[in-house]
């Protein structure tokens, strides 16, 4: 039963398991280095829908249905679904999941939603408030562009620090501990962090301090160093944010990430060949990479302990236009390999 460890971390003593997971992605993501890892790749980013918002809803619903299917559960057996996305009022999620008839807890953590929802779902299962809880999230390049930036066909240039919002969704089904599935050991919910970055085209720089703070909180609370983990996996810091994260962790907290770090935004795309500037972003970036490539390797025991640290930029178009800086958040979830794979 969740026990507080240190100041910010929850140790989930029953070790809830991720009994099913799925990731579905759009065309560009399906052309990236992880193409063989996803459950489904859509060749048409509209998914046959009349709007991109509907397409995003369909994307998230598909991820949830596939994850439940792989877990051998029906929607009727799920006690809670914790989910969110980037769109105003989280319509990608609420419209996508409305048919499932599952008690719904809407999450907003911007691009940190995967670790926020997975962390909370695991706490609910660990405390026996839920037998089965689903954590899911999505983002869509086209729906995000039209909400946060310019129309798709607008002919503008983006700076090299900009990132591409992934068309992707991921879902994890969490239930009581089983020996042959990955389990969630601990969760650290992050604090809002803002070092004054105002450039909405440089999200990596805005979010790196939040990631550094949460990783440091987690490591302090657990009395460990990065070397105790196979991977510390950030969500969407991209090229710029990754560089800054390493600098900040070393400078402010004395931790050396060395070779233990990877970023979903850099795993999802080939930044040299694909036109994604500084890497991927969006809730679905961490959602899809974690629920495919990473969980597959954790399940196989290739990665024994992984800390997922999805990061989110908590600004809106209004706050950006009003000249506000970008507050950011990061939540950490420690996932470990199944007992049978150890």
């Amino acid at each position: 039963m969740a026990v507080r460890q240190g100041r910010y971390t929850l140790n989930l003593t029953t070790r809830p398991s991720i009994i099913g997971n799925a990731a579905v992605v759009g065309k560009t993501e399906g052309e990236g280095p992880l193409k063989s890892e996803f459950d489904h790749i859509y060749s048409d980013d509209t998914l046959g829908e009349i709007s991109f918002e509907k397409a995003e809803s369909a994307l998230q619903r598909e991820a949830v249905i596939r994850a439940l299917d792989k877990a051998g559960k029906t929607p009727a057996e799920v006690d809670f679904i914790l989910a969110g996305d980037l769109l105003n009022q989280c319509i990608g999620t609420s419209f996508g999941l409305r048919e499932l008839n599952i008690p719904f807890l809407g999450m907003y953590g911007a691009c940190s939603t995967m670790s926020l929802s997975l962390g909370l779902a695991s706490v609910l299962v660990d405390t026996k408030a839920a037998n089965v809880a689903v954590a899911s999230t999505s983002s869509h390049f086209c729906s995000a562009e039209r909400q946060f930036r310019q129309p798709l066909e607008y002919g503008g240039q983006r700076p090299p620090t900009a990132q591409r919002t992934a068309t992707a969704a991921g879902a994890s089904v969490v239930a009581a501990s089983v020996t042959d599935k990955p389990c969630v050991e601990a969760v650290t919910f992050g604090r809002i962090m803002d070092l004054g970055v105002k450039d909405a085209n440089n999200m990596g720089a805005a979010m790196a301090p939040a990631a550094a703070q949460t990783i440091a909180d987690f490591l302090h609370d657990t009395g460990t160093t990065p070397q105790a983990y196979d991977l510390i996996l950030t969500g969407d810091l991209g090229i710029v944010g990754t560089k800054l994260l390493k600098e900040l962790l070393q400078k402010d907290y004395g931790f050396d990430l060395a070779d233990r770090h990877a970023d979903c935004g850099l795993l999802l795309y080939d930044t040299k060949k694909q036109d994604v500037h500084a890497g991927g972003s969006g809730c679905g970036c961490a959602g899809s990479v974690f629920n495919s490539y990473i969980l597959r390797r954790v399940t196989a025991g290739e990665l024994k302990r992984v800390v997922l640290v999805a990061t989110g930029a908590l600004m809106s178009q209004t706050s950006s236009l009003q000249g506000e800086s970008i507050p950011a958040i990061a939540h950490a979830v420690l996932v470990s390999a199944p007992q049978t794979a150890l």
């Binding site: 991109f52 918002e53 129309p151 066909e153 600098e247």
Partner: protein, 147 residues
């Protein structure tokens, strides 16, 4: 000691790669120049087929606007503009694209509050401040009898 906002600002600037200015300037100059040369060619063509000077002044921008609108609709314009930057924004092509692209994008929200309301969401400020600048210029010209 914790990094301050000021320190982080310089760290972030150092970590962020700058735009490739030489390449951007070259592409903007070349592609923008080609568009203007094409406009000049159209002007000659229309003059040759017998249009008056006033008609040519209207026909050339209209042709460029139509070509831009078609290229925007086909999803080609933004691919050119990605390289051209100011080269496609500054000529009338940029203005046409800034109206056609939201018109296409917001169809899903309906003809009135979607396409209609969002049509000038990018070009609106240009029109508003352009008109304002024209009024100021007109007043100066009137007061100092520059016409």
């Amino acid at each position: 000691m914790a990094t301050t906002g000021q320190e982080y600002d310089s760290m972030a600037k150092k970590a962020s790669p700058p735009s490739k200015k030489a390449k951007d300037l070259f592409c903007a100059f070349t592609i923008g120049g080609l568009i203007c040369t094409f406009g000049q060619a159209l002007s000659w063509l229309y003059t040759r087929v017998g249009l008056s000077e006033d008609e040519v002044k209207a026909a050339v921008p209209v042709t460029l606007i139509v070509i831009t609108a078609v290229l925007t609709g086909l999803g080609v314009f933004d691919r050119i503009a990605k390289h051209a930057g100011a080269g496609t924004i500054v000529p009338i092509t940029g203005f046409a694209n800034s109206i056609v692209s939201p018109a296409m994008e917001f169809q899903a929200e309906g003809r009135v509050l979607g396409t209609g309301a969002k049509l000038f969401s990018i070009a609106g400020p240009v029109i508003a401040y352009g008109t304002f600048a024209a009024v100021i210029y007109g007043l100066i010209a009137y007061i100092f009898k520059l016409y």
